[in-house]
């Protein structure tokens, strides 16, 4: 029978004493590697005052000269801007500008005089600037068909070109879409005194566009045939890759105020030169309150006249140096020992968790 009154005996061994189990467990353990055990050597930087102050100071010291250089570059640019859309409306039609622009019988010729304020070295860029023209509107941006522009065999592909897809009798328009349809058509002729300043209209578009986006064997067809004229008409005998104005226009701008390259003048202009511009005020910006401006500008390594970068850098650089000094001052006045345990909340109120 069973024995009774067994006194307490200790159960054998400790939990991990089992040699068989230990061997089994050892083989199941994953191989030790510093990566999987997260023991890779690491550097652990902390924000000491020294480090932070020096970073701010360094940033300030770098930014200020860059700002100065940028500002100087921007100041070097000479720019002549002339708004002509209001001025070129004949006096008797100032209250019916829309009627004026849409009436084909009224002559759109207009003469403007520009004075050169400073010496301008060639090449001088001629831009036309449009204000309040939303080339970045969603329906405008997608109203084009790139396949059609690239390949003459795909002339029928006019998807997404609404509303300028086909003519009334269903023939496809090449190039289709609103962007091409609204091509800018003001022209400018420059004269300095008696001398005619030739505007070089070659190479005003991107080379990559000319070579890959607009094909040499695609010709405009059925273009601007409809009732509503949006802009310029295109010569059907010139292939698209040579229609540089079109190519420049079809590089849609991202902002409502933009400039597009019209051409270059390879003549130096002297201070106080008077330039006479004979322009054709064809383009309709009156129906949506847009503005048209003619711009003559030189360019530096930074681009056109843009003070923003210079000022921004100067301001930020100055702020950084100021912050560096402020932090130094703060550190000198109210020093805080790094890693002072007295500030641990459970030390401030010990056991008061």
């Amino acid at each position: 029978m069973d024995s009774s009154n067994a006194a307490g005996t200790s159960n054998g061994g400790s939990g991990d004493g089992d040699p068989a189990a230990a061997a089994r467990r050892n083989t199941k353990m994953p191989k030790y590697s510093k990566f999987t055990q997260q023991e890779l050597p690491a550097c652990k930087p902390i924000l000491t005052p020294k480090w932070v102050v020096s970073v701010f100071f360094l940033v300030g010291v770098i930014f200020v000269p860059v700002g100065v250089v940028s500002l100087l570059a921007a100041r070097d640019v000479v720019e002549i801007i002339d708004r002509y859309d209001d001025a070129c409306v004949p006096v008797n039609m100032t209250d019916n500008k829309l009627g004026y622009i849409q009436n084909e019988t009224i002559s759109k010729e207009c003469t403007r005089t520009l004075t050169v304020t400073k010496d301008m070295k060639q090449p001088i860029f001629v831009y036309y600037q449009l204000d309040n023209f939303y080339q970045n509107h969603r329906r405008y941006v997608k109203s084009r068909n790139d396949a059609q522009l690239r390949d003459y065999k795909k002339a029928n592909q006019t998807t997404s070109c609404e509303p300028e897809r086909t003519t009334a009798d269903g023939k496809p328009i090449v190039p289709c879409g609103l962007i091409a349809w609204s091509l800018f058509n003001d022209t400018y002729i420059f004269n300095r005194g008696n001398e005619n300043l030739t505007v070089d209209k070659k190479d005003i578009s991107w080379k990559s566009d000319r070579e890959h986006k607009f094909a040499k064997n695609v010709y405009p067809s059925n273009f601007q045939n409809g009732g509503l004229i949006g802009g310029a008409k295109l010569d059907s005998s010139i292939p698209l890759s040579d229609q540089e104005d079109l190519i420049v226009w079809m590089r849609t701008a991202a902002l409502p105020t933009f400039r597009k390259l019209y051409g270059r003048i390879y003549v130096d202009l002297k201070e106080n030169d008077t330039i006479t511009v004979k322009l054709d005020n064809n383009y309709n910006t009156y129906s949506f309150g847009g503005k048209k401006k003619l711009v003559l500008s030189t360019a530096t390594w930074l681009g056109g006249k843009n003070d923003f970068l210079g000022f921004a850098y100067l301001i930020v650089g100055g702020l950084c140096i100021f912050l560096a000094f402020a932090f130094t001052l703060l550190y000198v006045i109210k020093p805080r020992k790094l890693g002072d345990h007295n500030y641990l909340s459970w030390n401030r109120h010990p056991a008061g968790r």
Partner: protein, 671 residues
């Protein structure tokens, strides 16, 4: 002792017999019996063979009345193959067996023995037997078979049938088994309690055993530091009154430096959970430590549920099959895979090998995981919001027409290629080294309150993304104005600006840099350019040559630099300011760790504490009422004495080190 069990002996080829048992108690008993020369040699089918001092005795096992937590005992019906007599052998908890003794037997000696053993912290079992007549057995056997094959209410029917048989037993004696604590248990509990986690012990042992073991592992402290409040009673009213009294004591003495804990028995708990739940819930919230004895598995799960309903984050840890329900009920279930098999480990969310690993699980891995998850989730929102805000701002200058500034390829690649890898390297980010964390376990409290991921931190990231979007957008449209204003170029400039900013943001937010992180952040940055160069070489792409054109312009690089400077400047300044003048606990420890080394801190802390010991209103200023702060830990395993919090909570390491040789290792075992 050798027969009343469900142990299967396994004969190894060398002739050694090893036992396969469901519980370690049974294993211990059978081994003890074999040490006393009553060896259970084999059990095939219904026959058990016992070798007693070279005499071989065969027994036939007729029925096994299995252990249930309701009856708290198990019985075996055997028949001696020589004499043909039928015996009923019972084994179980003393309060389940002793009342069934036949009238007239002196059970006082047994009760005394049980108490004595329980005081020593041993697990007691009572053994009894009875002889049956053949007729009685046959009748009963029929009933038993019926009950076993019943389709409805089988458990109840079986229990009823067993009751019929188990009465007028002849008590044989008491056995006591020493259940040793695992190594490192007291220290683990100490550290975890320091870090703000409440511990409750739920066990199936007797009250005295449980209290003894709790004292041993730092769970409660003996008088005068700690006080134990008992909830007892034989009738419902008694229990209710006892509960009220304890509750009252808890309420009024919560401001004293004494540590209070309450003890409640299984059947009292049953009454309380059914009738007096609200009072008990209040008690649960007030007390930081509790011991519940003689609890059944379902009661364990009920207790966890109760605490969950008080908005506590619960973790249940256990190692036996009876802990499975509790483990599954808790928010986090931890199973210790051990000698009782893998049931608990399989049912758990996390499975560890020893109890002391819990410390690393919670303090080290849990903390890191929380930090990294907080960063990852907020950063993901940040980077998506950045792009969204830029698009929204762009719509203001595009006539609110819905034009997307970024082309579709860039948008798709953004989330996957340009910004995902740097964040993934945050997996290796360690804000504090493990040594610092184990020396300052209170740091866990800092995470518990959700300080790294809450509406205000999220608002911070949101604000940052808004600010960065404004910076990128305004700078881009002012630099790339007039003749430079071309859709594709502008969009690429804005995207590059965002990517630059993000590389810096991730760099600033990382706490530790391994070479993997460097590679991730700056390699990804380079990959951005490489991918875009690739796309810019496809003639049919809208982006053809854009990246090349941009990289040739000096104004592009100057713009990038400006965006980074304006975007990161205020962020860095703010971070530095907060780091130095209103540092969070983590920051302080970080600085201490890197500038001085953690060892010096102990001296500082102790002196600090002795100075401030006058602040005895310490406990009341504890943020006790923030129920989201505390994490009560429900453990099935016994723990030991605790320290009061008011006194030196930081000198644990010195005395603890000296205590290790004194406290002998004990195995954790579920009851």
């Amino acid at each position: 002792m050798a027969l009343c069990n469900t142990v299967i002996p396994i004969k190894s080829p060398s002739g050694q017999i090893s036992y396969k048992a469901q519980s370690q108690d049974e294993d211990a008993l059978v081994n003890a019996a074999s040490n006393l020369h009553m060896v259970l040699v084999s059990k095939n089918g219904n026959n058990a063979e016992i070798h007693f001092n070279r005499r071989v005795v065969q027994y036939e096992i007729l029925d096994v009345l299995e252990f249930t937590s309701d009856r708290k005992r198990m019985s075996v019906l055997i028949s001696d193959s020589e004499s043909g007599k039928i015996f009923l052998l019972s084994k179980g908890a003393d309060e389940a067996i002793l009342p069934l003794a036949y009238s007239g037997q002196q059970i006082k000696t047994f009760i005394d023995a049980v108490d004595k053993y329980a005081q020593l912290g041993l697990r007691t079992l009572c053994l009894a037997w009875r002889e049956l007549g053949l007729q009685e057995y046959l009748e009963w056997s029929r009933l038993f078979k019926e009950a076993n094959s019943a389709l409805i209410d089988r458990e109840w029917k079986v229990a009823e049938v067993c009751q019929k048989l188990e009465h007028t037993l002849d008590i044989l004696g008491i056995s006591a088994i020493e259940d040793r604590l695992q190594a490192g248990v007291p220290e683990t509990i100490e550290i975890l309690r320091q870090s703000g986690i409440n511990f409750w012990m739920l066990t199936g042992d007797k009250q005295s055993t449980a209290i003894q073991i709790a004292l041993l592992c730092n769970l409660i402290s003996s008088e005068p530091k700690g006080q134990l409040l008992y909830i007892n009673g034989k009738t419902e009213d008694e229990v209710a009154r006892s509960l009220e009294r304890v509750l009252l004591t808890m309420r009024i003495t919560s401001s004293e430096p004494k540590e209070l804990a309450f003890v409640v028995d299984g059947w009292a708990l049953e009454i309380i959970l059914t009738r007096y739940k609200e009072a008990f819930t209040e008690l649960a919230v007030l007390s930081k430590t509790a011991i519940c004895c003689r609890v059944t598995p379902s009661q364990k799960a009920q207790l966890v549920k109760l605490l969950k309903s008080c908005d506590y984050r619960t973790l249940a840890i256990g190692d036996g099959g009876n802990d499975v329900r509790m483990i599954q009920q808790a928010h986090i279930g931890v199973g210790i895979s051990g000698r009782e098999g893998l049931q608990a480990a399989r049912a758990a969310d996390y499975s560890i090998g020893k109890f002391r690993f819990l410390k690393r699980l919670i303090l080290v891995h849990g903390r890191y995981s929380y930090n990294r998850t907080a960063f990852l989730s907020q950063y993901s929102f940040y980077k998506s919001l950045l792009i969204c805000f830029i698009q929204i701002l762009f719509s203001f200058v595009s006539g609110i027409a819905g034009t997307s500034l970024f082309n579709s390829v860039s948008l798709m690649a953004y989330n996957v290629f340009y910004t995902s890898i740097p964040v993934l390297t945050t997996v290796l980010d360690k804000d504090l080294s493990e040594r610092t964390v184990t020396q300052n376990p209170e740091i866990l409290l800092y995470c518990q309150a959700g300080r790294l991921l809450n509406p205000s931190t999220f608002a911070g990231w949101f604000g940052r993304s808004l600010y960065h979007a404004i910076v990128v957008f305004l700078i881009t449209i002012h630099v790339y104005a007039n003749e430079k204003s071309e859709m594709e170029e502008l969009s690429m400039v804005a995207l590059s600006g965002s990517i630059w900013l993000q590389a810096f943001v991730v760099t600033l937010e990382m706490n530790s840099f391994t070479f993997v992180q460097f590679l991730g952040i700056w390699g990804n940055f380079a990959a951005f350019y490489i991918i875009n160069f690739g796309i810019s070489s496809i003639p049919s792409a809208g982006m053809y040559t854009i990246m090349f054109r941009l990289c040739r312009q000096p104004s592009y690089w100057i713009t990038m630099l400006l965006i980074s400077g304006v975007g990161m400047g205020p962020v860095l300044a703010l971070k530095y300011f907060r780091y130095t003048y209103s540092p969070s606990a983590i920051n302080i420890l970080q600085k201490a760790e890197r500038s001085r080394g953690p060892m010096y801190t102990l001296v500082n802390l102790e002196s600090q504490l002795r100075l401030d010991n006058n602040a005895t209103d310490s406990i009341s200023s504890m943020p006790v009422k923030k129920s989201s702060v505390y994490e009560p830990l429900l453990s099935d395993s016994p723990m030991a004495s605790r320290r009061s919090v008011a006194s030196s909570s930081f000198d644990i390491f010195q005395p603890a080190q000296s205590r290790v040789p004194a406290s002998y290792p004990r195995n954790i075992k579920a009851s």
